[in-house]
Amino acid sequence: MITLLERAPIEIKTWFLNLLGSFGVPEWILAVLSAGIIIGTIIGVFLGLFALMSVMERKILARAQNRYGPNRVGPFGLFQPVADGIKMITKEDLVPRTADKIVHFLAPVTMMIPALMVLAILPYGRDMVPAELDSGILYFFAVGAGTEVAVFMAGWSSNNKYSVLGAMRAIAQMISYELPLVISAIVTAMIAGSLSPSAIVAAQGGFALGFVPQWFALTPWGFAAGLIFYIGALAESNRSPFDLPEGESELVAGHLTEYSGFKYATFFMAEYVGMFAVCGLFVTLFLGGWQAPLPFLEIIPSWCWFIGKICFVAFTMVWVRATLPRLRIDHMLGFAWKFLLPMSFAAFLSAACWHYAGRGPLAWLLSLAIVGIPYLILGTSFTKRFAVSRRTYRFSE
């Protein structure tokens, strides 16, 4: 029974394809159809999650601010995405007269394609990876680089100074935070010995002492690397507190100023799907992927655990959004280059020492020290740098 539920998605697909095969459909059509079913399911699930997220984010933010969220459309306001979708579709599609029409049209497309493509390498359950790539993590970041091109295209094609400014800031932010992101991802690949996400999930398997999960986030270096990855993920998807590029009070909507209607909805969708994708990678690398936290909880199917963990991480992202104010651009970039990058190197060194010191209690203490001491030193010097002091002028007085 348990195995049946666990294997349900794959079994249903195999049954359907066998049914078609018995009707005499040629082999290669079946292969294409198999891929098509997987792709359709994943896109359907993630677009559904996007719709749910757009209303749950508003409701969670509202509850954290002591008010109700949207509660008029449907039970508890859960049909709000339908109303939003209808609104977006029926809005007039404005293109500025002096805008670069082709680039303006292609920017949302170029933004959406990488967001959907990176979903291919995540292990959604036991043996449920759409594309079993040997260098899956590298694929994730390589395809994610397409987002930066899309942001630039959006900003520049609008022929609007604020859009270009917003796009430049967005690109600077994305490039700056890509480094700590990639390095903290490589830390887990180093310990697991492979760049393939399935191998990294398998390396977090088993239970120490019979009930403690061996997820990477529960080790000192894993916790540090996970935190760095999480912060980098927030920055890559332009979410608060790193949402200066699209802050309404700063630059109207930044690089999205001149977009309306369905194109804006596409950008919105790409941002949320990208957020889910990077949450999925965070779960895969640091929270054990599709594995249950305790042995007796393995009754619940692995793909349920994966979706549940993604939802939990998304909830924490909304929680962070409700808590922290927006960072200024120079603070944001300084944080990336002067704090996160050295800390990611420290996490790297700590992981290596943990592995080579034998993974015993001494190794744990050593890795904790290698991560903790730079954190305290960098943290205090960093906050001291921004302490309020008497302002000195260069040219007057």
């Binding site: 290669w28 670069d100 680039v103 790539l133 040997d134 260098s135 590298l138 694929y139 970041f141 390589a142 395809v143 994610g144 680089a145 397409g146 930066e148 091109v149 630039f152 295209m153 520049w156 270009v164 430049m168 690109i171 490039i175 890509e178 010995g193 492979s194 760049l195 260069r394 040219f395």
Partner: protein, 183 residues
């Protein structure tokens, strides 16, 4: 030849797709590179160059060199193209709204002729050399671990030297950008 093509389409379409998976990005690569050279609008030229980077990455992946292909996408499209765009925007704002191509007058025609002639000569040399007569080695798709071991083992000196070079470039860029801080 058309009948051959259609026959293989019906029986083994994967082979056709496999061949065209390399040919199509290669064609896109050539066209995009040519377009980026002749366009007057610098931003359009930069975007065409980015397209050619993406196409080159796909060619690498289709040829079985996954690691190199992904690194090409990550580094060239994610970083180099963006730096190119930043550089254009910061240094040459007056050339951003032009349109059309460089094909005007006899200069480009002569250049195209010279380019075509050199292509013919190069192809002649390549196809008549002894290297072309040797059989192709069997394609080896190396797992990433093998590439990593080679880099850290046989080629570690080159890797470290490149690292030093990049660090020097980074420090130099930071020093250059920091110049005007002193009053």
């Amino acid at each position: 030849m058309m009948c051959e093509f259609l026959k293989t389409c019906c029986t083994d379409p994967m082979k056709i797709i496999g061949e065209w998976l390399v040919l199509l990005p290669a064609i896109v690569l050539l066209l995009a590179a040519a377009a980026s050279v002749v366009m007057r609008n610098l931003i359009h030229a930069a975007l065409c160059l980015t397209l050619s980077f993406i196409a080159l990455g796909i060619v690498f992946i289709a040829l079985g060199a996954e690691f190199v292909g992904f690194v090409q996408l990550l580094v060239y499209v994610g970083a180099v193209a963006m730096i190119l765009v930043f550089a254009i925007l910061l240094t040459r704002p007056e050339q951003l709204t032009k349109s059309g191509t460089l094909f005007s007058g006899l200069g480009p025609a002569g250049g195209a002729l010279a380019g075509f002639a050199s292509l013919v000569v190069l192809l002649a040399f390549i196809f008549t050399s002894p290297v072309a007569k040797k059989p192709l080695p069997a394609p080896v798709s190396a797992p990433v671990a093998a590439i990593g071991e080679a880099l850290m083992g046989d080629y570690v000196v080159a890797l470290l030297l490149i690292g030093v070079l990049l660090t020097a470039a980074l420090v130099g860029a930071a020093v250059l950008a920091m110049e005007d801080k002193k009053p």
